[in-house]
């Protein structure tokens, strides 16, 4: 589905990505973990075309995305749930959802969306800034879903959420993957990662240093944690 090959790049004065290759398959949750500052968020921004400079190959079902501007990548099928949620604070929940809908969603009509994320139904007329952190996160996910993405990129969606809400999030991500969406999840929360991921990739110093199935990760977890994740 989404395929990255030898991605390098970063910001004006800092090279962050040193050659990242990965595949996010349809119908699976691919999790990307790693310490702070290894380039996970930079990679997500790069996939969306939000980095000042980047080289390498990005393709979606074989079609190259590399030269496209951000809005064209979204239209090609990338849904983006950024770090810090970034909902529109002065728009209502319904308006937040409408921004990404050039036409009504085929896969996520209102009834189905609110069945998946029931908390949003009662908040539909509220401004984004009036929502709780968990509600804002659900809105950020819903806002990406109604663009009917084939790939959903999520950057630390569990940040700042109560454990109950994280469970809810895990359920939603699992359901999306089961319906055929390729989910690429950047997370610090290992419990969430292990609960939903089919594959777990570890990133360090701008590269992927480990790529295996979730059961294999669990089998070698102590060593991997010690080597790549602990502070």
């Amino acid at each position: 589905m989404l395929s990255l090959s030898e991605i390098t790049g970063g910001y004006a004065k800092a090279q962050v990505l040193e050659g990242v290759s990965l595949d996010a398959a349809a119908g699976a949750v691919t999790a990307l973990i790693g310490r702070n500052g290894v380039g996970k968020t930079t990679l997500m921004r790069g996939v969306m075309g939000l980095l000042p400079r980047m080289q390498g190959r990005i393709s979606l079902d074989g079609a190259a995305l590399g030269g496209l501007p951000t809005h064209a990548r979204a239209r090609a099928g990338l849904g983006y749930v950024p770090e810090g949620r970034q909902i529109f604070p002065e728009l209502t929940v319904m308006e937040n959802l409408a921004v990404g809908q050039r036409q009504p969603s085929r896969l996520w009509p209102e009834a189905r969306l609110f069945a998946l994320l029931p908390n949003l139904r009662d908040r539909r007329a509220n401004a984004g800034r009036a929502l709780s952190g968990g509600e804002q996160q659900m809105l950020a996910i819903a806002r990406a879903l109604v663009t009917d993405p084939r790939v959903l990129l999520l950057d630390e969606p569990s940040q700042g959420l109560a454990p109950m809400v994280v469970q809810e999030l895990a359920r939603v991500l699992r359901q999306l993957a089961d319906e055929g969406v390729a989910v690429l999840l950047v997370e610090q929360n290992l419990r969430l990662t292990e609960a939903v991921a089919d594959r777990i990739l570890i990133m360090a110093r701008g590269r992927i240093v480990h790529d295996d199935t979730a059961p294999a990760f669990r089998a070698a977890e102590d060593e991997l944690r010690h080597r790549w994740l602990s502070m």
Partner: protein, 289 residues
Amino acid sequence: MDPLALFTLQVLNALSLSALLFFIALGLTLIFGIMRVVNFAHGAVFMLGAYCGVAAQTATGSFAASLLAAPLAGAALGLAFERSALSRLYAREHSAFLLVTFGLALALTEAIRLIWGADARQTELPAVLAGIVFVMDEPFPVYRLLLIGAGGLCWLLCWLGLQRTRLGLLLRAASQNPTMTAALGNDVGRVRAMVFALACALAALGGALAAPLLSASLGLGSNVIIDAFVIVMIGGMGSFIGTVAGSLLVGFAQTFGNFYVPELALGMTYALMITVLVLRPGGLFGRPE
């Protein structure tokens, strides 16, 4: 003269001035909202609208034609300028944008001087608009009532446009977070171009409406842009409702200042701005950045 009638006439005068100022200030604040930059050329576009209106009326004999030609010319100029020059500058620092729009203001002024000469130009209003009506037994120009109506209509249509149309939604979204607006599949560059063109059309229409009252002259642009800046500062940069409030405050301050304390009139606008900014540095309806 009955003081109440006098007061009422001044209220109507103030409303008509507020309406004219609203046309230019609204565009300025919409552009600031979505681009985070000030368009120094906006006064020149207002002036261009006045000249285009006069030219269209001279050519066709119809005042209505001037109200059609001016916004079309403004929109065309705005679109061409945004696409050819401004769209290359968003990634740069703001000073580049200020210099380029200031350059456009100078170029427009000189172009107008070349085409229409240095003398002020004015046309006759059609008889039905040139007349007077009696308000509380005092005469009042019909045209000023028309301006109040036009300002109100503009306010209503723009408000509906912002709240009910897709372009309005994208304008509000991009004002709050352009990156996410693009990441949800919207071409923000196109939204910016359309907003800029619309804002220029509004300013030019304001100029054409002002021409019968103020006449089209080369100083028109720089006079009116200062009032528009003050309005946008008072209302809060980028705020629609703030621009409505700011236009009314400045219109009333200038009209009543001129009438009751003419020796202080020039300072009224600035006193108003300073008072508001001391009490609320972001303007009346400004969002904290």
